[in-house]
Symmetry: C2
Amino acid sequence: VARIALDAMGGDLGPAEAVAGAIDAAAGGVDVVLVGDEAQIAAQLALTGSSLPIVHAPEVVHMGEDPARAIREKPGSSVATCARMVRDGSADGFVSAGSTGAAMASAAIIIGRLERVMRPTIASVFPTDGSPTVVLDSGANPEVKPEHIVQFAEMGAALSETYFDVTNPRVGLLNIGEEKGKGRVLDKEAYALLEAAPVNFIGNVEGRDVATDRADVIVTDGFTGNVFLKTTEGAASLTARLILAALDAAPGDVRSEVLPLLDPIRRRMDYEETGGAHLLGTRGVVVIAHGSSTRRAIANALRMASDGANRGLVARVADRIGR
Amino acid sequence: VARIALDAMGGDLGPAEAVAGAIDAAAGGVDVVLVGDEAQIAAQLALTGSSLPIVHAPEVVHMGEDPARAIREKPGSSVATCARMVRDGSADGFVSAGSTGAAMASAAIIIGRLERVMRPTIASVFPTDGSPTVVLDSGANPEVKPEHIVQFAEMGAALSETYFDVTNPRVGLLNIGEEKGKGRVLDKEAYALLEAAPVNFIGNVEGRDVATDRADVIVTDGFTGNVFLKTTEGAASLTARLILAALDAAPGDVRSEVLPLLDPIRRRMDYEETGGAHLLGTRGVVVIAHGSSTRRAIANALRMASDGANRGLVARVADRIGR
């Protein structure tokens, strides 16, 4: 069984929430190690009467810090310690809800990239009417070359195969029209390379295909991908908010009939359920959880990392990149 | 009162729908001229017993054609004829639901750009919790320079002032983080220029701010803006679809209480209500309606173009660019 290190000091809600999430995940069978200030973590564990292994890390990388510099200057930070555990084999993966940049930098600098991987990438998972869609790069690389996008496609296909058991995942290029020849120079060149790449390339997809079942994997640069991700969150939450506000005008008994019906949707749209985004392309499983992750989000992120490690995600990514 | 030319041959639903929309808009006080195949348009008018002026245009630019070339080679096309009417002063603006590229090309080539405008831009309008947000460029210019983004801000501010009576519209730069220094080289340079520009620049905004009331105008390149636009449509429609499907499980009387409450939201989210996007930066009002515009969408686009012309939109854009 895979062992997952949790950066217990990252996350806006502090170690109490992280420890609570770890306890829940451990109860569900995940082998978790808590990494961070030993006294604080032990105190949280004592409050709940639980027992989990702790690895002491005296420092913390804060949100505003320059990530690469912080990783070099704070080798004893919780996130750098997590990465070192993965590098040394005492963990198979790690989860952090702290600075995304720090998690990326520690993974790249300490764990290291897989052979041939030019740019590690962040993959996010979106709910659709069908099986979930993997979108990458969703923020790690704001500026990319066409060949990077091809590797994002290969790594995203590995994630889709690993988590959603999709055979030969359909890869779409996010673009501003369906026809070949649309978009920027970057997109046109990426299109040509994807046609020749060992992935099931289905051509261009558009922003609205976040909501359709056209593609299993959608690739673009990290600037566009990040806008895509956050716009989806914003538009879905606006729509949900408007609908809930409208329901306030309904009689009480009607509301109490309707609201429970909407619960599964709320859960499906909820980032807490997906737990986090995957950093792909390094020699270990790395899950980046939302900064404001609750106990439930942390537990789901740990479960996701554990599943990824148990199913051989890293080897599958390496295999895809090596084809 | 402003006179608006309607490209009656554009649009997936054909001249019948366009003529019906024109009749509705005319009934609401818009001075419309129908432009296209005279026999077809006259036949549609005869069916409804209505009478509207027609300008005959024997050719049509089709969706797949190269826009600039089509405008040169088909001077008698309905869209080129509309643009010529605006240039010659026999119309103050035009509406087309045909090829966006053809509408842009005819506006740029035939009507011509305003002085100092480097790149005409497409502005879309999004509903929010507060007053609508203008987003540009939403597809005209996939690849831009930082100084183009500054002009998009100026033109968007003019639109926000003209239509929504916003004083000193707040301009946000679409980016992947709120802090200064985020994004691509393009975004960092645009940020610096916007700080010095004669607009009310509030800094970076993110994808999720489509749903908030943080900015009145959001600027970015036309690739990102187009993805933003279509993602919003997709995510909102997915959310709405999931919620409506969930309501199917409710008893019939509950459904019949709830569905009417959702109608105002459906209208608010509906592109038919906004009618279309504005092409800004040319010497006339140009509204680009959705390709699948219904009668109602066409009528709203005509109303929007008429309002823009009556309120001096073009002069306001020119004034903003000249500051």
